[in-house]
């Protein structure tokens, strides 16, 4: 679900960058990027399933 929301967030940032104000696009970009990094860190702390 979180990845669906991240794709949605990226689409919204693109639409705002194309049609809306620059300041709003920059703010939304920052929020989306923080969410991406948080999602990455969440998955990066999973136990590694190594094959040895």
């Amino acid at each position: 679900m979180e990845f669906t929301l991240l794709f949605l967030a990226a689409s919204i940032v693109m639409l705002v960058a194309w049609r809306g104000s620059r300041a709003l696009a920059l703010g939304l970009y920052a929020a989306a990027m923080i969410a991406c990094v948080a999602t990455y860190l969440h998955h990066a702390t999973d136990t590694l399933k190594l094959s040895f």
């Binding site: 679900m1 991240l6 794709f7 990226a10 920059l26 990027m33 990455y40 094959s51």
Partner: protein
């Protein structure tokens, strides 16, 4: 590099991002290989790469717009490096099929590093940041507008595809079916 030429290059970079997103879709639909969570994150970060060029086309080239794409490229390189390292042990078959000898996440790492180098190279040309007085077409002309809508459309399709794949819960580590379709079939 003039402002007009910079905008043309930014439009071309959007077509490159669209090509990457379309190729990922092609692998998903033609080879029936569903993307894993880290693969999805890399796709999202490729889409985030497009925001800098969109802003450059709409508001004119600025270093801050290139910086947005650089941040996305670095984050994408980190995510794809992690996936390469997850499958680096000898005998590990990797995730998914390989294309020209490399798995998609390895291609993604190469793509993100290429983006970092190209963005740094683009930033070397200071003249693009000065208003050269050229009458730029509104929002970059048809070539640039088509590139922007193509990338937005492909990202929108990914919203639908990811919703079908993961449903309303957490995405599976090794997805084999579209969860939402399974629920309603």
């Amino acid at each position: 590099m003039t402002q007009t030429r910079a905008i043309t290059l930014n439009a071309l970079s959007l077509y490159a991002v669209a090509l990457v997103l379309a190729a990922a879709f092609a692998a998903q639909l033609l080879l029936h290989e569903l993307p894993c969570p880290l693969c999805l994150l890399q796709r999202i970060l490729f889409a985030m790469l497009a925001i800098g060029p969109i802003l450059n086309i709409r508001f004119g080239p600025r270093p801050s717009h290139y910086a947005l794409s650089l941040l996305a490229a670095v984050a994408g390189a980190v995510a794809s490096t992690r996936q390469v390292l997850l499958h680096i042990m000898p005998g590990d078959p990797g995730y998914g099929s390989a294309l020209l000898g490399y798995h998609y996440y390895t291609w993604a790492l190469i793509g993100f590093i290429a983006a970092i180098v190209l963005l740094a190279a683009a930033l070397l040309f200071d003249r693009q940041f000065e208003d050269d007085g050229a009458a730029l077409p509104p929002t970059g002309g048809l070539f640039a507008q088509a590139a922007v809508w193509l990338v937005i459309g492909l990202t929108g399709l990914n919203v639908v595809s990811t919703l079908l794949e993961c449903g309303f819960g957490a995405c599976a580590d090794n997805p084999t079916v579209y969860e939402l379709l399974k629920r309603f079939s």
